[in-house]
Symmetry: C2
């Protein structure tokens, strides 16, 4: 049904554009376009304006590359943050997730992507070249690699590790293990195996 | 993570607008917004422009209310269509689906929605008031109700039936039954039961 040309050129065009978004196929794109047509014209224009503002007005923090409103993001500008620790993350969602834990008061370094040779994304496509400079300038003593444990995440983590290992800083990564509240029998084998290999003194678990 | 305010007002605004689309939550909206930021500025602007064009330039056919470019849609304008049959459908996707079967050469009447009292959508919110006029003007002899068999679809179908039954036309609806190629054991009970009640002479099945 959806492969045939739509009855209107502007509808066809909108569906093609919406279907370029990740995880949205032509069928869903048509559903969304028809939804926009079923609403008031203003609500569609508001959506379009918010997208224009998004791509034209957002800035990236010149220090950590997080998305922000000013030259320097709130976290980098905050004098109470611990400037000796830099946490390397993929994107702003990871910053939000880590901030939400309330367990980290250091700075971030937002890569804006992961190395993915299959998709043609090399180290020069992500914001990594200035990490060494930042470590030196801040006189940081720890780089925390907080990347997803996927093929791309592991590749990127290893690249960051290679870049950072001559910088005289401690390089750490997130603990992998059974989730808090998770039953052992439902944990996957690799995670459970890793949580046994990397077991910690019992007293540490009492502190959190 | 996602309930906290985002670090940028324009990002927050874009996420709020994108999350108004059906089936898209704040988490997905943030993923889409970050995807737009990761692409070139032009591709975001193209998307926005296509949405503006969609809501400002599309017209509805003055006869059948299908989405089109001109005053009258291609189907209504086609002199080879059978003007004695009107198929009542929910939206343009259903028109495309039925056109794709190649089994129907009549006209359509696109309601643009279904009666849904819970969502506050009554008969006046959908394009139904002019159906009787069209039937009279075209001197049509059949109204085919092709609506989904959901609570809203059935309510709307019954409303259309009540409107049409004094018009001296045949009122038919789609056959419900076991799908072509489907195994009986996997058909749901109501559908299978309906397909037995509404069984057809075997010779008819040989024709299709």
């Amino acid at each position: 049904m959806i492969d045939q040309t739509l009855p209107s050129r502007v509808l066809e065009n909108a569906v093609t554009e919406i279907a370029k978004l990740p995880g949205i196929g032509r069928r869903t794109a048509l559903r969304l376009a028809l939804y926009l047509l079923s609403r008031s014209k203003d609500s569609g224009l508001q959506l379009a304006e918010s997208i224009v503002a998004l791509v034209t007005e957002t800035k990236k923090c010149v220090q950590c590359h997080n998305i922000c409103e000013a030259e320097i993001c709130q976290i980098c500008a905050d004098p109470h943050r611990d400037r000796t620790k830099i946490c390397v993350v993929e994107d702003v969602r990871d910053v939000l997730a880590i901030e939400n834990t309330g367990q980290y008061r250091g700075l971030y370094h937002v890569l804006g992507g992961l190395i993915n040779p299959i998709a043609g994304i090399g180290p020069s496509e992500i914001q990594i070249s200035d990490l060494a400079d930042r470590v030196a300038r801040l006189n940081a003593n720890e780089v925390i690699i907080a990347l997803p444990s996927t093929a791309e995440g592991d590749t990127t983590a290893y690249y960051v590790f290679k870049k950072a290992k001559d910088l005289n800083v401690q390089i750490s990564t997130l603990a992998r293990g059974v989730a808090v509240g998770e039953e052992l029998q439902y944990a996957d084998e690799i995670t459970l195996g890793r949580s046994i290999l990397n077991r910690v003194p019992f007293e540490i678990s009492l502190k959190n």
